[in-house]
Amino acid sequence: MKRMLCILLSCALTLFLFAGCGGSGQPASGDQNGAGDDKAAVFKIGGTGPLTGGAAIYGNAAMRGAQIAVDEINAQGGIQFELRYEDDEHDAEKAVNAYNKLKDWGMQVFLGSVTSTPGVATSTEAFNDRIFYLPPSASAPAVIEGKDNVFQMCFTDPNQGSASAQYIFDKKLGSKIAIIYKNDDVYSKGIYNTFISKAKELNLEVVSTTTFTEDSQTDFSVQLADAKKNGADLIFLPIYYTPASLILQQAKNMGYAPKFFGVDGMDGILTLENFDVSLAEGVMLLTPFNAAATDDLTVNFVKKYQELYNEIPNQFAADGYDCVYAIKKALEAAGCTPDMSAQDICEKLVQVFPTITFNGLTGENMTWSASGEVTKSPKGMVIQNGAYVGMD
């Protein structure tokens, strides 16, 4: 009897697990099969991202943003898209497997990988196979380096670092600066490196530099004590918002109130469930996307995203959305048709992409250099009364 119960329970658990997997792996598919009758009339777009695991928040956001764009475009008639996302668990090897799966499926344009580490691996594959590659947020410079068919939607990490230093200098936000960065993260370290060299150039005084890692991102008392001891009046945080929320809390507990300045990874701190937004009062950040902006495009996107997924979209969702629209614009400009091979589309898009100007959620008048870098100006934001307010 007991044995029976055991078997039943384990079956139930297994079933639950598989059911769950199916649910998360498949994006909410509005019009995915809408044009299924006529396969030749649909562009197949693929992407990989961490849909499960510790970085799942980024992969899911980008996938959902892209899906909203695809649904909108399909509803308009004209060019039709079919989107398929594969899970890479923020792992380079799994990302390559996911990429091969997408290739077998017949992917024509690749949205690349959401995060940088898998991005470096899949962009190399896509370069060798000549498939056009436009990732939403894989921001490491190594993703685009030496690959003519790879373009980026987000700023590269170096741009963010020097832009932040320039911004702090121009606006005279702080005279003594402390930096806390995540030592085992290419994103954080990349921004730190360019920030510090730009700061030297501008004679910004950096009084304290401390680090943490994935394994020690709980207690920041030492880092904060060091900044406080050295009299820092501004702390630069080139990190994601989850550890940043702990830093804000612990600084308050210490009775230490410098200015805080973040980069695009800070975006999302206000949507952190149950977060005491008063802690983030006065936090400044450079971000390409502002969910509270009042332009039609943003309002419409935020509304749709909230209806479908019951949360406020972050910058990754906006990047995913923009990628799909940028691809649409480029495909139209290049005169590509869905019956073309991925390689032919790639050659045409590589020609066209540096010539287009694109308006999206994450910037106006974006252009791309032939090397793949995007030009867009980051928006300086400050958090006031629990909402972003533009600083310019």
């Binding site: 639950f16 697990l17 970085a55 709980t218 880092q223 929320s245 210490m254 952190l272």
Partner: protein, 293 residues
């Protein structure tokens, strides 16, 4: 003053490690298995408390009790389904299973509660006690954690040393077969061990997230590993050892960060572990048990 404030940070971090390590060491001491899923049971406990207090608007104490009940049931179920069938298997098989259970719990949490981090509301508030004109700040949660840690340690020591059930546990720990021959229900005893260990995990989860309020499906993983290190440092299987190991580990981590390098803090922690094991393989308070042939 910096020294004192580092010491307090270290004590606060260490007491969280200690409270997790108590659960590890208790299960190891009696069932002789490393329950690597312990860190994830902590995470489940924290989520239960989070939903009860934040979404369900229940008082903090009810939330903690509910978390303890859920974790106890979870612990016993895990033991029945995953570990009991392997009672006679090699310890390596059980170890691998425990790692599997750990991944299962993390991914189940991911599906149920999504990967979006949540901010845990501290069950005792975020007040700090300011001393010396605000130059020294002690958070209330740190004090509460240390006190609860001491209470649990004392209660566990008494329970294992003085009660009949505790005696049965010690007997199972020494020799399962002999204990069975003496009329002790070994399976029941081990189940109780898991129940207590998991209830402790719930308390640890609530205190961990009260002190460091980010709650994600992976929240329990790293503190779990660190607490395991603490348990080994203190002498795995020894209840006071877990407490001493946890607090020492926290202090070493903070002092390493503060006085040597923030980059090397983890390397220092684990170097201390390696040194301890080289010099005293049973850990600080561990007992040398001679294998009888």
């Amino acid at each position: 003053m910096t020294f004192l404030s580092f010491l307090i940070s270290g004590l606060s971090l260490g007491s969280v490690y200690a409270i997790i390590a108590l659960g590890y060491t208790m299960v190891y001491g009696i069932a002789k298995m490393l329950n690597f899923a312990h860190g994830d049971v902590i995470m489940v406990g924290a989520y239960v408390c989070f939903f009860a207090t934040t979404r369900g608007n229940m008082p903090a104490l009810v939330g903690v009790l509910l978390a303890m009940v859920v974790c106890t049931i979870l612990g016993v179920v895990i033991e029945r389904l995953a570990y009991k069938p392997l009672r006679a298997a090699t310890s390596l098989a059980v170890l691998i299973t425990a790692i599997g259970v750990s991944y299962f719990l993390q991914n189940a949490a991911l599906l149920l509660w999504s990967s979006n981090p949540k901010v845990f509301t501290s069950v005792v508030g975020n007040e700090t006690i300011k001393l010396f004109d605000g130059r020294l700040n002690i958070s209330v949660i740190a004090i509460v954690t240390i006190i609860i840690c001491l209470i649990i340690m004392a209660a566990l020591t008494l329970f294992i040393g003085k009660t009949k059930m505790g005696k049965a546990m010690r007997a199972c720990s020494e020799d399962k077969d002999a204990a069975q021959l003496m009329g002790i229900d070994v399976n029941f005893t081990i189940s109780i061990t898991f129940a207590i260990g998991s209830a402790l995990a719930a308390v640890a989860g609530v205190l961990l997230c009260s002190a460091y309020p980010t709650l994600m499906p992976t929240t329990g993983a790293m503190p779990g590993i660190k607490a395991f290190t603490a348990a080994v440092l203190g002498g795995i299987g020894s209840v006071p050892g877990a407490m001493v190991g946890g607090i020492l580990l926290g202090i070493i981590e903070i002092f390493g960060k503060g006085y040597i390098s923030t980059q090397l803090s983890d390397a220092i922690v684990f170097a201390v572990l390696i040194l301890t094991l080289l010099i005293k393989p049973t850990g600080l308070l561990g007992k040398q048990i001679n294998e009888k042939v």
